[in-house]
């Protein structure tokens, strides 16, 4: 059977759309912070959270008991919470004379467990009777009512096996997931496993199907996969076949697919990402997509269903399941009660006996009794809950006076309130944070400086920069600025020891320019240069093979490493650094090559390939071949000449062998005209034109409002982390650089900004960089707080006399920063002297057994776009992303649009990743690191076999089981006139959507009118705020 083309494409598109709610999962080597509900961002936040509950069975807000702790510790104010409750109550009609506000406040603040009243069997009348200690009136439940309970439990879009599992206590779903995970581990392995799955180059489905047809183990288990696979070769055809065998109505397919795909959402997210990552070596070599994956799930699922049906007569299709439900709804009801663990404990035995006997009479006899006792149980539960609540709220008497109808209304109201409660707590928590932050801002004009600062330092917007910036400003005359850590210059980087490109920019951008790193150690240059290029062209991606350290891979040396790192991290590492001195200095190739240069490189490369071919194919050493022979072979291979060559004559090759060798050169060693053209195109990607260079520098400087008054030193500080044995290390690196270290982008922009030709053009554009201003790349190690300058050998001699002062300042700031940060990691070291704190931070970075080398971006809460002056006096406690911006340098608002579209979006991903990992670490986060195992070298599993764990580990967001990261939506503050800021927000649709749908909170502070506006309840509302004057501040005030 072959599906028509249109139908095939349609099924592909259905699977694509069905998978969209599941977020991408990037390989751990470059951990990308993402919103776990990214696929639902088209919905308002609270709605998306509910949808996330349905799809991922995950909680979207903290539990009430945690919020109550926030309340008692003052992180949430009662007044704020009360306002929220007031808003809820005022939108609803009164219930008799109850004081609803008081009742609900009591529920929130004094009852720790949710009440969750769902009226199913018991109704208001029953609860009323129980409250007045009367007996329940007898009532019969119709078959249709019971059928409606079941339908709500087992919606038709859920996979058939979930229905079978719920009814018969089978574990088909769990077995299926396990089989699928094993298949995925085999196929997606990136060099961790010793055994390699055969036929992977044919794609996931084809490779799996080839194996599954012959898989004896599956056959012995009674799974007849071969029969299913015989129907069609294509995954689309198989999907269509299985769905029709399952008899699922086509209108439900998309929902059905979504349910299938969300069961292992980590794997699905990885496959989704991988299918679209065209530059990813492993996906190029071993392609796979969601259609393949879904086909495998469906085949295995159908085989398992059939095997169970054969053995235990359970339904094997949606319609036979439906027939079962319609034929015996009572039996189905009791079965679901029993297998989902909801059965009344006192009747558990009786129910179990009845369903296992499968005798109708027993079931029919049991049913009325069960329903009546369950109804009683429910009525008692709601009644006692209501009574306790009313007593606490001082309304017990009022409760007793309520009519049954009013009790129903009250229970419905409580149910609705508890559904919305999380959002209420969140709003109240945010309001307090927002108020504290906005009230502290200083909107006065920046005072003019008498002289230029000793140094200007640009830092990434990352929240960790705030701490080091504050300390730098404290120790000396440093002006600090915030900019996205890729400095606005998207770079595709090829390092000295790397054979693949690394994208150094936010993942929403694809860099167009390649930057090559060349070592200084071998100035002869050409050989080294060629070896780099050779690797690029031949895609010898050696680097992708060594992502994490594993015991097998490192062998003996690793044993030594493990010893040293566990017992004496610092001393050991110094010793090891002596063993492996740092790699030699390097330069970046940033300028476009000329045509002559490119041709010459290609010629050298072709010559190098010929030398290699001569040695490998004919075993002739280089010294026996002359340059002229190589030239001639090259010309022949390229088709510029014909006939026998001197080389052939000299080594006595017969014409056929010579012809074969030439062919081999063309085909295998790629010395041919077509490939030379491709090489030329690839070389064309190297470097930036002068126009591009000027554009990037000018855009970066303007976006942070730095266009004049340049210091002698302008440091561009990238950042990254260092930790050992930490698969999450990349999560601590620079998000704006795609989860990499930010030093390369700093080096690129510095090198460009120091070029006289660039400065001359900048001057014409109104950016006056003083002649003695020198841009220096630097690196902020966020685990140790070290600040280190790079490319110092390029420094002009005139600057050397000031270097000592610069380094002193940097070191002092590092120590102060460590002293401030260390107590958050080690509560015992609250009074450590800066120098010893700094040493301890180093120790953490090298300690092999350290599960929390640093807190990373934990506790992030705000993103402030504006002058540093407005926050300079504040201690923001490393919780705010700071992007420097001066609206006066941005007449059209384009720079602001760019800040919103790039950095703010990345900040929101980081914020949401932390938010959801903190509110539900089990489902949205990745649980404890202690149980983590590296899967296939790209992901993490809990234990031996599990879904890929996405999100952040418990050690990053929780402390002692409670959220260290306070989950707040990112508060974006823009310092600009209202109209200017609003225009920019409206122009960037992605950000407008985030604001309007409540994925970020946004405030605009207008320095001209000193008015504050906050976007809430669907519009911009002016807020009354305490105004600060612009007098200089001496002490830094901490912000809650």
């Amino acid at each position: 059977m072959t599906l028509a083309l249109g139908r095939q494409l349609q099924i592909r598109a259905m699977v694509h759309v069905a998978g969209e709610p599941i977020p991408f999962f990037w390989p751990m080597r470059t951990f990308i912070h993402h919103n776990p509900l990214y696929g639902l961002e088209h919905l308002p936040f609270s709605q998306a959270v509910r949808e996330g509950e349905r799809l991922f069975h995950a909680r979207g807000y903290l539990p009430r008991s945690t919020y109550q702790q926030f309340l008692s510790s003052g992180k949430v104010e009662v007044a704020r919470l009360s306002e929220e409750v007031e808003r809820f109550v005022s939108a609803r009609s009164a219930i008799a004379d109850l004081d609803l506000h008081r009742l609900l406040m009591t529920l929130l603040t004094e009852v720790s467990e949710p009440f969750a009243p769902v009226l199913k069997l018991a109704d208001g009348q029953d609860v009323h009777a129980t409250l007045s200690r009367g007996a329940l009136e007898p009532r019969e439940f119709s078959v249709a009512t019971i059928a409606s309970f079941i339908k709500a439990d087992l919606p038709s879009s859920c996979p058939v096996y979930t229905g079978v599992d719920a009814l018969f206590g089978t574990e088909i779903g769990a077995i299926l997931d396990e089989l699928v995970i094993k298949s995925c581990l085999d196929f997606f392995d990136e060099g961790q496993s010793v055994w390699q799955m055969p036929g992977r180059e044919n794609g996931l489905f084809a490779a799996w199907a080839a194996l599954a047809r012959r898989n004896l183990r599956l056959f012995i288990r009674g799974l007849h996969i071969k029969q299913i696979l015989a129907v069609d070769d294509s995954p689309e055809g198989i999907i269509s076949y299985v769905m029709s065998e399952l008899e699922v109505p086509e209108a439900d397919w998309m929902d059905y697919f979504t349910h299938e795909l969300t069961r292992l959402h980590g794997w699905t997210g990885f496959i989704r990402w991988r299918a679209g990552a065209k530059h990813y070596y492993w996906s190029q070599t071993y392609p796979a997509d969601l259609v393949d994956y879904l086909a495998i799930r469906l085949v295995l699922g159908l085989a398992l269903l059939r095997e169970h049906a054969h053995r235990t007569k359970t339904p094997a299709s949606a319609s036979s399941l439906m027939r079962f439900l319609e034929k015996s709804p009572e039996e189905a009801y009791l079965r679901v009660e029993f297998h989902r663990g909801r059965v009344l404990p006192v009747m558990a035995h009786a129910v179990e006996d009845a369903i296992s006997s499968r005798g109708k009479t027993r079931l029919n006899r049991l049913m009325p009794e069960y329903l009546s006792r369950k109804r009683e149980h429910e009525a008692q539960r709601w009644a006692s809950g209501l009574r306790q609540l009313a007593e606490r709220a001082g309304q017990a008497e009022k409760l007793l006076r309520l009519w049954p109808k009013a009790i129903s209304e009250l229970l419905a109201l409580l149910s609705q309130f508890e559904n919305e409660e999380g959002q209420l707590w969140l709003n109240a928590h945010e309001a307090q944070h927002m108020n504290g932050l906005l009230n502290g801002l200083n909107l006065g004009p920046t005072p003019a400086r008498e002289k230029r600062p000793f140094a200007q330092m640009m830092f990434c917007i990352d929240v960790r920069s705030e701490r080091i910036r504050r300390n730098l400003e404290k120790v000396g005359d440093y002006q600090t600025l915030g900019i996205a850590g890729f400095f606005g210059i998207p770079v595709s980087f090829i390092g000295v020891d790397k054979g693949s490109e690394t994208y150094l920019c936010p993942v929403v951008v694809t860099p167009k320019n390649v930057v090559l790193e060349l070592t200084l150690s071998r100035p002869a240059g050409e050989e080294d240069f060629i070896s780099v290029l050779e690797e690029v062209f031949h895609e010898l991606k050696a680097s992708v093979l060594s992502p994490f350290m594993t015991v097998e891979a490192i062998g003996l040396l690793f044993g030594l490493d493990m010893f040293g790192k566990t017992f004496a991290p610092l001393a050991y590492n110094r010793w090891r650094q002596r063993l492996h001195p740092e790699k030699p200095g390097s330069r970046l190739l940033l300028d476009k090559l000329t045509r002559e240069q490119a041709d010459s490189i290609i010629r050298s490369l072709q010559r190098a390939m010929i030398v290699k071919a001569v040695g490998r194919e004919l075993k002739i050493e280089r010294e026996r071949v002359t340059d002229e022979m190589i030239r001639e072979l090259r010309e022949t291979a390229l088709g510029h000449r014909e006939g026998p060559t001197e080389f052939g004559g000299h080594f006595k090759l017969d014409p056929q062998a010579e012809q074969q060798f030439t062919e081999r050169l063309r085909q295998f060693y790629r010395v041919n005209r077509g490939y030379a053209q491709i090489q030329l195109e690839r070389l064309g990607r190297i470097g930036f034109t002068l126009d591009e260079q000027v554009h990037f520098v000018s855009q970066a400087l303007r976006s942070i409002g730095l266009t004049k008054g340049f210091s002698r030193f302008v440091l561009l500080t990238g950042h990254g982390s260092t930790s050992e044995n930490n698969p999450y290390e990349s999560a601590l690196d620079c998000g704006a650089c795609g989860g990499n270290h930010g030093i390369i982008n700093a080096r690129v922009l510095s090198q460009i900004a120091n070029k006289p030709a660039v400065r001359e053009r900048l001057r014409a554009k109104g950016i006056e960089i003083a002649d003695d201003a020198w841009f220096i790349p630097a690196f902020h190690n966020t685990t140790t707080d070290e600040l280190r300058a790079y490319d110092l050998d390029l420094l002009p001699p005139s600057h050397l006399v000031y270097v000592e002062r610069l380094f002193n300042g940097l070191k002092a700031a590092s120590r102060l920063c460590a002293a401030e940060r260390l107590p958050t990691l080690e509560p015992t070291s609250s009074n450590a002297a800066p120098a010893s704190a700094y040493r301890n931070a180093w120790r953490n970075a090298m300690d092999w057994s350290q599960v929390r080398p640093e807190w990373g971006l934990s506790r992030n809460a705000a993103f402030i776009i504006g002058r540093r002056w407005i926050t300079e006096h504040l201690d923001l406690d490393a919780r705010a992303f700071l992007h420097s911006y001066d609206y006066k340098c941005d007449a059209k608002g384009r720079l602001l649009e760019n800040i919103l579209a790039g950095p703010v979006v990345v900040g929101q991903w980081i914020n949401m990743e932390h938010y959801f990992s903190a509110v539900d670490n089990v489902h949205y986060g990745s649980g404890s690191k202690v149980y983590h195992n590296v899967a296939g070298r790209f992901g993490i599993m809990t234990g031996n076999l599990s879904d890929l764990r996405t999100g952040l580990p418990a050690q990053t967001v929780l402390r002692d089981g409670l959220p260290y990261h306070e989950p707040l939506r990112l508060l974006v503050v823009i310092e600009a006139p209202l109209a200017h800021a609003k225009r920019a927000v409206e122009a960037v649709r992605a950000v407008k959507n985030l604001v309007y749908h409540g994925w970020v909170r946004m405030a605009i502070v207008d320095p001209e009118t000193r008015d504050y506006y906050v976007f809430q309840q669907d519009n911009w509302q002016q807020q009354p705020m305490r105004l600060l004057d612009s007098s200089p501040h001496t002490t830094k005030e901490p912000i809650a």
Partner: protein, 108 residues
């Protein structure tokens, strides 16, 4: 002009958000389309108001247009393939009759 041998083909102009480019081109590839042109950073007005097409640090949010010339018999399968996608996402497909001189370039 008289000695030009022109053949009729169909032109599709598919306008979608940049984030879905991979999906769309993959679908076209699988339909056997031999080539296409992609225009990025579109400006224009639609149901969602005016779209500014200037360069930004976020390629997912911009609109793109994929232009493709195909033999008539591929129009229906491709539209059928896109239908579940357009049920959920914004975007448009324009279909027009065009002529090409070298038909072989547009047939797989």
């Amino acid at each position: 002009m008289n000695n030009l041998n022109l053949s009729p083909v169909k032109k599709l102009e598919i306008i979608i958000e940049g984030a879905h480019q991979e999906f769309a081109t993959d679908l076209l590839d699988r339909a056997g389309v031999t080539g296409y042109t992609i225009v990025g950073n579109l400006s224009g007005k639609g149901r969602h108001g005016f779209h500014e097409g200037h360069l930004m640090f976020n390629e997912d949010a911009v609109l793109i247009m994929i232009i493709v010339a195909i033999p008539g018999e591929l129009v229906e399968p491709i539209l059928e393939g896109f239908s579940p996608f357009f049920n959920k996402h914004t975007g448009v497909v324009f279909i027009s009759d065009i002529q090409v001189s070298r038909l072989v370039k547009f047939k797989s």
